[in-house]
C-alpha cells in the first residue's frame, strides 16, 4: 500500500473561486492510501513545493497527487520537487482541476464534486504506480528542413550559422518558393527577387547547407534527436555535376506546350526546363510526361545540343537515407482552387485572375513581360476590379473559415502599383473589412486610397459575368451607400484564400505531427510554444503553421531555427521511461502490436520461457525502449493484454475509471 499525500492548489482564484478546495482536501483524506492532504494558494511556488518536500519527510510519503493545472503546465515542476524530496519522480500524478474543471464550470458544488472525482482517480492511479527510471538517447547534430521557400531558407541559414549541418529538401526543381513568384513586396515595394535571391545564393553557398531540390521526403522513422529519413531524389534526367546551366537545351527543345507552373499556367514552357532564371541550382529537369524522347523514344535534341554531355535519360530516382536530430517543416502554401466560386467566372474568363497570377503578369519575367494586359486579347485594361476575401472568412463550407491575412495588403499593393504605372486605369476594390495590423501597414493602405486614388467599396461582389463585348459585368453592393453597383470591368482580380500546401498532410503523417481541420500544423502551445509541433523534435516555420506575410515568416523561421539549435546543442536527451513492456508469459506472438507500432519499436524473438513449469520456445514481442514513444497503440491492440505501458498500465487506467465511476 502506498502512503499518498494530496496537495490541492488554489491557483490564486483560478481554481479556488469555483472549487471548494477545503472540501476536496477533506474528501481526499478518506481515500485509500492517502495519509496526508492539504491545500495551498500556489502549489507551484517555491513555498508550495516546500510543502510537498516537508510532507514527504514528515509522513514518509511514497506517492504524491497534486490537484492543480494541466500536467502539461507543471508536471515537470512537481516531479522535480518529488525528486528533491527523495521520491522517484514518476510517483507523482497530477489531477487537472483547472483546465478540466474550474475553468469550464460555473457552479461551485458541481465543480467541487468533479474535482473530488478527478483527484480520486489520480489517487487510484498512484496506488498502482511503480518507480520508473528515465534513460538517455543521443542527438544527431544535423537538421532537416522540409521546404525550400523563404521560411525553409531562413531556418536553414540560421541553423547552419550556428555551426550545424542542415539539409533542405525541396520538391520543385529550385529553391525560392512562393516568394520567388512575387513581383514587389509590401509595404516597402522592394522587388521580391532582389531580396530573395541573395538569400538563395547564401543558402546554396553555405558550407553547412546541403540542398536537395526536385526531392521529396519518402519515409521518416525514429524520434527526437535521432530521426532517420529517406529522401527521394527524383530523376532530373540531367547530370547536375556536368550541367553548366547554359540553357541551350531549353531553347532547342521542340516540346514547348507544357503549362508553366512557375507562371501559374499562364504561358508554356519547354519539356526540359528550369522554373525561372535565378533558379538554384541552375540545372534543368526533364518533365518526362511532356518529353518527346520519353514518350516516343525519338528526339534526343537536348542530348545532341548539350556541350557538357549532361543529359541522362536513364537516370533513376535515388533514395538517400540520412539521420537528423531535428526536423523543421516549412512546406508553405498554395492558393485554393476556385471550383466552388463559379459566380466569379474564374473558369469562364481569362480576364478573371487570381492575385498570384497578377503577380506573374506584373513581373518583368512573367508571361506578359511585365505589361499589364488582358490575357484574352492582350489589350490594356481601363477598368480593374479587385475582389477581397475570395474563399477567406467563409461562413459556409465552400471556402476557408479563416482570414488569409495577406490579401488586404497585397491588394493595396497591386492597386497602388497599377495606379502608379498606369494612371489611366481605374481601380476598384470590393472589401468586407480592410485589415492592416502591422508596422507601416495602415499607412500603406491609406496611401493607396489618398495618394493613388484607389476606389475602395465596402461590400461583396455577388456575380461576375462575361459580356458579349468582352468586358466583365461586376455586380456588387456598396454597404456604406446602401446601393447595388453594376460595373463593367476589363479585368477582375480575386484575392484568393491561401491554404497549406497539399503535401503537408502526407508529411505531417510521416512525422506524426498533428494538423488542424484546415491542414495547418498545430503548435505545441498556441501562445507559448508557437514554433514547435507537439511531436518532439519537429519545428514549424512559415505558413504551414498559419497564414503569414514575409516578415512574419522570416521571424518565425528564425525562431524555429533557435528551437532546433537548442535541441542540436544537447549531447544527450533524457528519454521518457513510459514505454511499452510485454508480459512474456501472456504474449501470443501474433504480431498485431508490431503491425500497429508507428515507430517500428517492436520486434519478435523466439525465446525459451518457463510458464509455471512448462518450458517451451515461444515467439514473443520485444520492445526497443529507445524507439518506443509510449503512444500505447500496441497496448490497446494486444488481445491478451500482454503489452502494457509503463506509467499508464491497463490496471492503472481501469483503476482510474473505476474511481471515477464509483
Amino acid at each position: 500500500m502506498q502512503r499518498i499525500g494530496v496537495f490541492v492548489c488554489h491557483c490564486g482564484s483560478n481554481i479556488a473561486a469555483t472549487v471548494d478546495v477545503k472540501k476536496v482536501v477533506e474528501m481526499m483524506k478518506k481515500e485509500p492510501g492517502v495519509c496526508h492532504a492539504e491545500d495551498y494558494p500556489y502549489m507551484c511556488s517555491e513555498a508550495g513545493q516546500m510543502k510537498i518536500l516537508e510532507a514527504v519527510k514528515e509522513h514518509h510519503l511514497t506517492g504524491v497527487v497534486v490537484c492543480s493545472c494541466s500536467p502539461r503546465m507543471h508536471e515537470a515542476t512537481f516531479r522535480k520537487a518529488a525528486e528533491r524530496a527523495g521520491l522517484n519522480p514518476y510517483m507523482v500524478e497530477i489531477a487537472n482541476i483547472r483546465e478540466h474543471c474550474s475553468w469550464i464550470h460555473k457552479d461551485m458544488e458541481e465543480a467541487t464534486e468533479k474535482a473530488v472525482i478527478l483527484a480520486r482517480a489520480a489517487v487510484a492511479k498512484v496506488n498502482l504506480n511503480t518507480p520508473l527510471q528515465a534513460g538517455e538517447s543521443r542527438v544527431t547534430k544535423r537538421a532537416l528542413v522540409i521546404g525550400g521557400g523563404i521560411a525553409g531558407i531562413q531556418t536553414a541559414i540560421d541553423i547552419a550559422d550556428a555551426g550545424y549541418e542542415v539539409d533542405i529538401v525541396e520538391k520543385t526543381p529550385s529553391i525560392g518558393g512562393r516568394m520567388s513568384q512575387l513581383d514587389k513586396t509590401f509595404p516597402t515595394l522592394d522587388c521580391s527577387a532582389c531580396i530573395l535571391t541573395p538569400k538563395m545564393v547564401e543558402a546554396a553557398a553555405h558550407e553547412k547547407i546541403n540542398i536537395y531540390t526536385y526531392s521529396e521526403v519518402d519515409k521518416v522513422t525514429g524520434f527526437v534527436g535521432d530521426f532517420t529519413v529517406d529522401i527521394r531524389k527524383k530523376a532530373r534526367s540531367v547530370n547536375s555535376d556536368k550541367c553548366t546551366g547554359c540553357g541551350v537545351c531549353q531553347e532547342k527543345c521542340p516540346s514547348k506546350k507544357s503549362l508553366n507552373e512557375f507562371n501559374r499556367g499562364l504561358n508554356t514552357r519547354s519539356a526540359i526546363y528550369t522554373p525561372f532564371a535565378q533558379a538554384i541550382p541552375n540545372v534543368p529537369v526533364i518533365d518526362r510526361d511532356a518529353c518527346i524522347k520519353f514518350k516516343t523514344g525519338k528526339c534526343g535534341v537536348c542530348e545532341k545540343v548539350c556541350q557538357a554531355g549532361a543529359i541522362d535519360y536513364a537516370q533513376q530516382d535515388e533514395i538517400i537515407t540520412e539521420k537528423y536530430g531535428a526536423i523543421v517543416v516549412a512546406t508553405g502554401f498554395d492558393t485554393i482552387k476556385l471550383d466552388n466560386y463559379d459566380e466569379y467566372a474564374y473558369n469562364q474568363s481569362k480576364d478573371v485572375i487570381t492575385s498570384l497570377e497578377l503577380e506573374r503578369i506584373m513581373n518583368a519575367a512573367g508571361p506578359t513581360k511585365g505589361h499589364l494586359e488582358r490575357l484574352s486579347d492582350g489589350k490594356a485594361p481601363k477598368e480593374m476590379v479587385f475582389i477581397q476575401c475570395v474563399g477567406s472568412r467563409c461562413s459556409d463550407n465552400r471556402g476557408k473559415s479563416y482570414c488569409s491575412k495577406i490579401c488586404c495588403m497585397y491588394t493595396a499593393k497591386h492597386a497602388m502599383l497599377i495606379r502608379d504605372k498606369y494612371p489611366d486605369v481605374n481601380v476598384t476594390v470590393f472589401y468586407i473589412d480592410v485589415r492592416t495590423p502591422g508596422k507601416n501597414f495602415d499607412e500603406f493602405y491609406r496611401r493607396a486610397v489618398e495618394e493613388y486614388g484607389v476606389n475602395y467599396v465596402k461590400g461583396q461582389v455577388g456575380k461576375v459575368a462575361p459580356l458579349p463585348n468582352g468586358k466583365l459585368l461586376v455586380q456588387g453592393s456598396d454597404l456604406l451607400d446602401n446601393k447595388q453597383i453594376l460595373k463593367e470591368a476589363d479585368m477582375v482580380v480575386l484575392a484568393t484564400a491561401i491554404e497549406p500546401e497539399a503535401s503537408v498532410r502526407k508529411i505531417a503523417t510521416m512525422l506524426t505531427a498533428s494538423i488542424d481541420t484546415n491542414n495547418f500544423l498545430t503548435e505545441a502551445h498556441p501562445k507559448l510554444r508557437p514554433v514547435e509541433s507537439p511531436t518532439a523534435g519537429v519545428f514549424l516555420s512559415g505558413v504551414c503553421q498559419g497564414p503569414k506575410d514575409i516578415p512574419e515568416t522570416v521571424a518565425q523561421a528564425g525562431a524555429a531555427a533557435v528551437k532546433a539549435i537548442g535541441l542540436l546543442a544537447k549531447d544527450k536527451l533524457t528519454t521518457n521511461p513510459c514505454t511499452a513492456k510485454p508480459d512474456e508469459l501472456l504474449c501470443n506472438g501474433c504480431s498485431q502490436c508490431a503491425n500497429v507500432c508507428p515507430y517500428g519499436a517492436i520486434t519478435y524473438l523466439d525465446k525459451e520461457v518457463n510458464d509455471h513449469g512448462i518450458r517451451e520456445t515461444r515467439r514473443i514481442a520485444q520492445v526497443n525502449s529507445a524507439l518506443c514513444q509510449g503512444c500505447g497503440a500496441c497496448t490497446v491492440t494486444c488481445p491478451s493484454g500482454a503489452m502494457d505501458l509503463q506509467g499508464f498500465s491497463n490496471r492503472q487506467i481501469i483503476a482510474e475509471v473505476d474511481a471515477i465511476c464509483r
Partner: protein, 322 residues
Amino acid sequence: MQELVTRAKELLKDGTVTRVLGWKNGDLSYNPEPAFFETEEALSDFVYNGFCGANLSKYMIEASKKEGKTLVFLKPCDSYSFNQLLKEHRVDREKAYIIGVGCKGKLDIEAIKKQGIKGIETIKGAEMTDACDTLEISTIYGDKTVSYDDVMLSRCYSCKGKEHVIFDEQMLESRDTATKGRFDEVEAIEKMSPEEKFEFFRKELSKCIRCNACRNVCPACSCRKCVFDSNKFDSAQKANVDTFQENMFHIIRAFHVAGRCTDCGECSRVCPQGIPLHLFNRKFIKDINEFYGDYVAGEDIDAEAPLTHFEFTDREPNEERG
C-alpha cells in the same frame, strides 16, 4: 466419407503424418465431436457428415507444438480460420497436412427440433454421399422427413463460398448453400432505434450463463491466457459482478476479435442458450468493409489487416461515413 478414411490411413502409413485430426461420433447420432486419431485402427471411429459443423482449425495450435505432422480436415469456412491463425503465427504450416473437404451445408439439430421433431433416434440423408435434400428422421413417435435446406446452421445460408483458401489436397464435392446476403441480419438490427437495439441485445445477452463455450471454440480467441481468466487484470472479477458487466464480456470479446474474426459462426453454433453471438462480429466486419474496403479475414495471408494497418487513404475518424 470412406475415401477420407482410406486417404488418412495412407498418409499415416507412409509416414507423411503422425496423427489425424477429424471428427468422431458422439453419444448421439447428431453430435459428432472433434477427435485426434493416432492409429489406423482408431480411424474406424472417424466420421464426416452433415453434423460435423465443428471447426478444427483451432486444435491445430496445440497440434503444431507436437512432434510430426497432423493431417487436418478443413471445410471451406474452416480454412479461413486456419489461414488467420497462420497469419498470427499461432499455427505452424509445416506441421499441418491439410485436406480441404467439401461441404454441403451443416445441419443444426436445434433447427430440426424447432420443426416439432422430438425423440430422435436416427437421421438419414446427411452423409456426404447423399444428395442432401431430404432428411429421413426416425423418432420414437414414428418416421418424419424434413428438407435439408430448412434445417441448416444459420451461417450456411450466408456462406462465404465453397473455396478452400489453403489446402494440400481437396476431397469431396461441395454444394452452394447461400441464399441470404451476409449482412441482412445486421442491416435489420441497424434499422432499429437505439432503445430497440439496447433492448434486443440486453434480452439476448441476459440468457448468457458464462459457460465460455463461445470463447473456447473461437479460433480468434486463442490467447494463451484470456484476459477474463487472468489475475493480472481486474476484468475477470468485474464481469462476474453484475449483469451489465456480464454482458460486456461479449462486447469486449467482439472487440478483441474484430478484424480477425473469419465469421466461421462457431460462437453461435455452440452457444447452449442460442444467443446469436455472430451478429456482433458480423457488424464489425460490415463496418470494416464500409470504412476500409472489402476485407475477409483469413482469405489472404499476405493482405494487410485493416485495423492494424495504416494507409494515407484511410478515412479519418472525423469524416462522415459514406
